[in-house]
């Protein structure tokens, strides 16, 4: 990972800049005369930028619009509004051939390695397809290139003649990575690339992606629902909720000092491999379900489920005013009216799983009562 971990905004011109991107899917009714009765606001006005060689993690629950964002960037969906500027070129204004040229430099890795490879094509054919489509190199050279790509992702080049069903899940995902690498892109949009894999294989693919990044200078937009995975690979992390970005920060900062109540709740769900800390933690269980993106709540979209709002006595501003992203410290932006109240709160401390302050007194100064069920195990050593 080349970009700094501080989360500072990149100084060099951004590789990718997303400005106020909206992707709405119309809801229609009626059989013959289709009436437009509403929109699913999958992505509703998000902005962020990415530097060359950077990894930006995009996390959120399923249905929050993170995959739609990725697909709109590569123009699998046409944005409803907003701009996607890739290396200085606004992709939303490109024509067919311009789009094709642009797609050479952006590639995608998919979630399900069992669904993302055509079962009727050989591994070699799959990896060679981007080369065919873009007419890169002579036929003969392409075969060599395919073998080289397979070797790059750690597969035996002689497997080029095999069909996807002859590979394991991890191997299939490697084929997917090789396909994404074929055109030597600048940006890879990895849409939950490991969540369909066995845990033991997940680490292999993550390591492969990191190794390739170091070698090829790739930028990753790493989409995932699991913060614990994203924080390992990302330089910066953007947290999405219901079509909006609620917090962006450097990976380390987001994990040690989250400032949005939603991020705190997400972090509190990650178990911490320390029985002492873990036994004292309280998970923040969010009430209810994610509201419908067809009819999002007014004001702050998170206010219907926010633990902080409840604590503060339901301030009216939460449901009345839409909080914009505010930069609270360099490179750390949050969309919450009361983000300052999160900092230093018991919830934040517990969520990030900090060990009790020096001395580690067994009677923690937690403001909340201990969960009654856990019998205290004396911490040895």
């Amino acid at each position: 990972m080349t970009a700094s971990d501080s989360g500072a905004a990149p100084v060099v011109p951004a590789l990718l800049e997303v400005r106020d991107l909206k992707v709405h899917f119309p809801i229609r009714e009626g059989l013959i005369f289709e009436r437009h009765v509403g929109d699913i606001r999958a992505v509703d006005g998000i902005s962020f930028s990415m530097a060359r060689g950077e990894t930006l993690g995009l996390v959120g629950e399923s249905g929050c619009g993170k995959s739609t964002t990725g697909r709109a960037i590569i123009r699998l969906y046409d944005p409803t509004a907003g701009n996607v500027v890739f290396d200085g070129v606004d992709t939303t204004s490109l024509d067919r051939s311009g789009l094709k040229a642009m797609r050479r430099r952006m590639q995608m890795i998919f979630q399900d390695p069992y669904a993302s490879l055509d079962p009727r094509m050989t591994a070699g054919g799959i990896v060679a397809e981007p080369l065919d489509i873009h007419g890169v190199g002579a036929k003969r050279d392409r075969q060599d290139r395919v073998r080289e790509l397979l070797a790059t992702v750690g597969l035996n080049p002689d497997y080029a003649e095999r069909y996807p069903h002859e590979f394991s899940g991890g191997q299939r995902q490697r084929i997917g990575v090789a396909r994404a690498l074929a055109l030597e892109p600048d940006l890879i949009i990895a849409d939950e690339p490991i969540s369909a894999l066995d845990v033991s294989i997940q680490a292999q693919i993550i390591n492969l992606l990191e190794r390739l990044q170091g070698r090829l200078g790739l930028a990753y937009l790493f989409i995932a629902h699991d913060l614990s995975v994203v924080r390992h690979i990302s330089d910066r992390i953007a947290v999405m909720y219901l079509g909006r970005i609620v917090e962006v920060a450097g990976s380390k900062e987001l994990n040690t000092a989250p400032l949005h109540p939603y991020t705190v709740a997400l972090l509190s769900a990650i178990p911490i491999p320390d029985p002492v800390v873990e036994s004292r933690r309280r998970r923040i269980i969010l009430k209810g379900d994610v509201p419908s993106p067809a009819n999002p709540p007014t004001g702050c979209r998170f206010h219907t489920r926010c633990w902080l709002r409840e604590r503060l006595g339901d301030p009216e501003v939460c449901s009345a005013e839409d909080p914009g992203l505010r930069e609270l410290s360099p490179g750390h932006t949050v969309a919450c009216h009361f983000a300052e109240q999160v900092d230093g709160s018991a919830e934040q401390v517990q969520a990030v799983g900090a060990r009790p302050a020096a001395g580690a007194a067994p009677a923690a100064p937690a403001s909340r009562p201990e969960p009654p069920t856990h019998p205290q195990v004396p911490a040895s050593a």
Binding site: R103, P119, E129, H134, Y163, E166
Partner: protein, 300 residues
């Protein structure tokens, strides 16, 4: 796949030594392990060989008979007896296989071609084209198959080509639906999206990814349709819409002709009937076997 570069130690591993197998050869292997499918294959082979070698196997010419020998029960000389004109029933059943085979295969091929084209246009282009084509298909489906076939034969006059066309038209909407359905489901498949994101054109998506992957259900349906096509042809014959020359040995026509002699000569009903049933069962068994061996979800 001979790769001399592989070090000896690695090629010794079975996974490395095993040659790659394609999906088709895999499916074929599974088919050969499927008992009922093999029975079906055997019955079909019997049927095809009978049709092809009819002039060699048949002990008598199918059209010649002497009225003196009419309505004889099965004997050593006439294995299936003789019909009301003294023709050898066994020879007629054998020659009947020719008509059934040709009519069945031609009508199914015609049906798959027309239906496949409609389905590919509807599922591949979508939108208005899809809506219009599918409404036409719906209308065709709303008419019972045999009624549609009778209508077409009545409209185009009797004759084997007309019969084949009629039976094909019965199958057209079914094939169109099947292909459109699988194309639609593939449109959102990850591997199609993957190649779209790389910049593949619509034609390429259709030709390289969507059509090859939607052929499986079509092949299965076509095999099963052969059974119904043969029954439909016989059915048209039974209803008096068979080949214009009434002497032609056609199983359905033979059934009709013998109904008048049901009490005196039941064998005239039994043998052509059994021939129809055996052929239909053969194609049904093979079709089911194909479905099991081609569809990964049915993998055991």
């Amino acid at each position: 796949m001979a790769a001399p570069a592989i070090p000896a130690g690695r090629s010794a591993r079975p996974a490395e030594a095993r040659a790659s197998r394609g999906l088709w050869s895999d499916a074929f292997r599974r088919l050969l392990r499927n008992g009922p499918a093999l029975v079906g294959l055997f019955l079909i082979a019997l049927f095809v060989l009978t049709a092809a070698l009819a002039p060699v196997i048949a002990p008598y010419p199918p059209l010649a008979g002497s009225l003196a020998d009419r309505l004889q029960p099965p004997t050593a000389e006439h294995w299936m007896g003789t019909d009301m004109q003294g023709r050898d029933e066994f020879s007629r059943v054998i020659f009947g296989a020719q008509v059934s085979l040709v009519a069945g295969v031609v009508s199914v091929v015609m049906g798959v071609t027309i239906g496949g084209l409609i389905g590919a246009l509807a599922g591949g282009i979508g939108g208005k084209v899809d809506a219009v084509l599918m409404r036409v298909v719906d209308v065709m489906l709303s008419i019972p198959g045999i009624l549609l076939a009778i209508g077409i034969v009545a409209w185009l006059d009797r004759g084997l080509p007309q019969i084949m066309f009629a039976v094909a038209m019965v199958n057209v909407p079914i094939f169109a639906r099947i292909l459109r359905g699988s194309l639609l489901s593939l449109r959102e498949a990850d591997y199609v999206t993957a190649s779209r994101s790389v910049g593949a054109s619509r034609g390429r998506l259709l030709a390289r990814h969507m059509l090859p992957n939607s052929l499986t259900p079509l092949i299965v349906a076509a095999t099963l349709a052969l059974a119904t096509a043969i029954i439909d042809v016989a059915g048209l014959g039974f209803l008096g819409l068979g080949p214009p020359d009434p002497r032609t040995p056609e199983w359905g026509t033979m059934l009709t002709d013998s109904t008048k002699f049901l009490r005196q000569a039941p064998w005239l009903i039994i043998f052509p009937g059994v021939a129809i049933v055996i052929t239909a069962i053969g194609f049904n068994l093979l079709g089911d076997g194909l479905r099991e061996s081609l569809d990964p979800r049915m993998k055991r």
